[in-house]
Amino acid sequence: MTKTIEVTPQLAADHGLSEDEYSRIVELTGRTPTFTELGIWSAMWNEHCSYKSSKKWLKTLPTEGPRVVHGPGENAGVVDIGDDDVVVFKMESHNHPSFIEPYQGAATGVGGILRDVFTMGARPIASMNALRFGEPGHSKTRHLVSGVVAGVGGYGNSFGVPCVGGEVNFHPRYNGNILVNAFAAGIAKKDGIYISKAEGIGLPVVYLGAKTGRDGVGGATMASAEFDDSIDEKRPTVQVGDPFTEKCLLEACLELMASGAVIAIQDMGAAGLTCSAVEMGARGDLGILLDLDKVPVREENMSPYEMMLSESQERMLMVLRPEKEDEAKAIFVKWDLDFAIVGETTNDLRFRILHRGEEVADLPIKELGDEAPEYDRPWVEPGSHSDMEPHLFAPPHDYNAALIKMLGSPDLSSRRWVWEQYDTWIQGNSLQLPGGDAGVVRVDGHPCKALAFSSDVTPRYVEADPYEGGKQAVAECYRNLISVGAEPLAATDNLNFGNPEKPEIMGTFVASIRGIGEACSALKMPIVSGNVSLYNETNGEAILPTPTIGGVGLIEDHAKTARIGAADEGDVLFLVGTEATHLAQSIYQREILGEEAGPGPKVDLLMEKARGDFVLAAIKSEYASACHDISDGGLAIALAEMCMASGLGMKIEFEYTYPHAALFGEDQARYIVAVDEEWANMFAANSEGSGVSFLRIGQVAGNRLIINDLVDISVDDMKQAHEAWFPEFMGTPALAQAAE
């Protein structure tokens, strides 16, 4: 590549920049930018890095709370968990790359989120993955599921972080754009947190980790565009992951931080060297001078444009204390990682790049970092649906058959096929594994503290009513944390939507953020980090709006938790909440009646909080043995899931108005709690005392789930249906079945 490439408005447009944006760039540069400079501007100003369409609305989210140490803006959120410890976490999407190249796309998504966490000085202790694929019958779906799951496992297992939860869903609206949302959490000491803001002039800027290659050049720009039929041509923009180098990078970074050498640190993620250097400088009100001849490369003759936009993985940029340089270098040499001083901090607020003795870029750093355009995109208020009474839905001919069919449906069947490809035990601290309400990992070095993790959103509800659906995503996450006995602390959001330049899509985005914000305030789960993924469209068709919420909860004493499968023979079963009536947008409606219509369930946040507080108190006082929240599929599915987890049956007898709505309705703010018979009356009295509605619905008994005269199925038959779908879909040879 030669330096004579002429920069034209057309070339700017090819970089995804609008005419207005390009004029502004020319104005801020003070001349026509060079090709390298254009690449840098486009990388900083694309949607992925600048949040230009979403920033206005993200600012409305609640981000503060008594335990919040660092909210959004850093690599990950930081929340106090007591004893001078903090939990550091974030969720981030790798949607576009994973559709193009599922294994590497998913793998580097995991790598990226882990780096975000340890860049802040935290050792990763848990991960989750929220995956959304097209309809099972679509020709690409199996290939994508197989590649993404292998990629997530391939990276996380090798790196050595347990995967403790997540989601997998299927819907035709993801046929052309799958979603891969990766979550990671780590633990650090409160005074051992590192941020990206550089301080001090004339200090060495150090490049660490793997060498720079041509992989991923322009990845962030690709991730800010819609797909069309030329998608396969974009494969070279996907990065390639090396989990072993990342593991070494983790150890080296933590060792380096402990040595006191680090002033500022930023990982090279989207837009690699460009984004990390600009952020460190812009946040610290410093200029940065980089000499590209000093950057470790693995390919010959890379142009400055390619080097500045490469998204090669497992790289970091740091500003170090000069007196510690030798000590720092020795640590990186020990871990077989590259260590090179590639530049310095300056006092001129310019971002300058040298290549073979020539200055190939000279740009104003604050404008690059902070003055990305911010749009108030036009949006329209989403339409609403009128409520649908239960009598508008046909009851099933056979409740047993309906229940079995739902248990074995793509969205409700067991995800064992997926999570058995993830290491869930590594590090030896996993207390609750995937398959329950939330993953639980104990805090190493503490006698009884643990953290709970859950990832949730119900995209069909968000599509039907973005505001209520946004609330519901937070509420379900809250309930899942409560169900294991954790106090919900905070959340991260991963907002996946279509093209924000369409007012309907923007309206969905705006309304769901309003819902998320209200729920986070009411349920005291501030948003401390997050990521926005827009332009998830192919040939003009957008995904279902999918604002994934990743929640973290604190368990002060892990002896006092509940699990989905911990009920004992004879335990009394309570439904916390009331009889269900809402069947619109339910799994029953979709799987049994074959339609998706009407509004999703409404979320009463005060009721969510009151019932959540009550259930949490019951678990903490140790008279609730098992607990499960009621979500997709309603009461009957929740009961069946508890039976399958414990291997025990249930005898349920309760009064209802509409049996199909009572069994399968998806009304919110509800739990099933199993209580030792001895404590049952006390539990009931406490419910009444707290003003929390409840129904005593039956007992744990035998090996069949019996509900009035409607359902009578053996636990084994339910397990069979529940476990069969995924392996059959993936065509996996039946090797050994699960040990239990």
Binding site: A150, G153, G154, N157, S158, G160, D242, P243, F244, T245, K247, W419, E420, Q421, Y422, D423, T424, W425, I426, Q427, G428, L431, R442, D444, H558, T732, P733, L735, A736, Q737, A738, A739, E740
Partner: protein, 210 residues
């Protein structure tokens, strides 16, 4: 593994860097799991050629007890301290699940905490755990009672020949196993079946030392 060894023995084990060429005096050498060098060539192949393995070979020949778990087992077969090879799982995917293990030989310090024929719970987590050996090697393993653990009750997760989950060397001082007993050693792990492997080994070692 280090956490489990520390909790069970009350002492933190000494960690040895892969480029070391000498080992301190010790009763037990543990090669833990964990995708050494990314397993980018073959699992354990590069680790088997690390400088430290020369010292491990010497220790093995002198009778020092050596335990290799998961990637450690792969490293031991790659360094020919144990016979056979660990191929890609028959299902071609990583497998993380709980299996049942039958104690095939309890006449060894490592398995002395169990009874022969006893069936225990144990987690596995690997991509390449499919034990293979040629018929002659397999027969000699069986004839010499070198099989330590077998997957039991139809839980073979990877297609291993003869359901082999772990083997001893001929002298009995080297054990390699794919399952992770260190992840089932505390009540919080939902069971302690793995603990007896370490306790049995330590009891016998301390008796020998006395």
């Amino acid at each position: 593994m280090i956490a489990a060894l520390t909790k069970i023995s009350g002492n933190a084990p000494t960690r040895i860097w892969h480029t070391e060429t000498n080992l301190p005096g010790c009763d037990l050498i543990v090669i833990p799991g964990g995708f050494s060098h990314g397993d980018y060539l073959r699992s354990g192949a590069i680790a088997a050629r690390a400088p430290v393995m020369q010292a491990v070979r010497q220790a093995a020949s002198k009778g020092t007890r050596i335990l290799g778990v998961c990637n450690g087992f792969q490293t031991l077969t790659e360094s020919a301290l144990l016979p056979g090879a660990l191929m890609r799982n028959a299902g071609l995917t990583f497998v993380c699940k709980e299996v049942k293990l039958e104690i095939a030989n309890a006449d060894n310090p490592f398995t002395a905490g169990y009874k022969k024929g006893e069936v225990i719970r144990c987690p596995v987590a690997h991509h390449d755990g499919n034990y293979f050996a040629d018929p002659k090697t397999l027969k000699s393993l069986e004839d010499n009672d070198q099989v330590a653990f077998r997957y039991a009750e139809g839980t073979n997760p990877n297609g291993s020949l003869n359901d082999i989950a772990g083997i001893f060397n001929k002298a009995g001082n080297v054990l390699g196993m794919m399952p992770h007993p260190e992840n089932l050693v505390e009540p919080e792990h939902s069971g302690t079946d793995g603990r007896r492997l370490f306790e049995g080994a330590m009891n016998l070692l301390s008796k020998e030392a006395a």
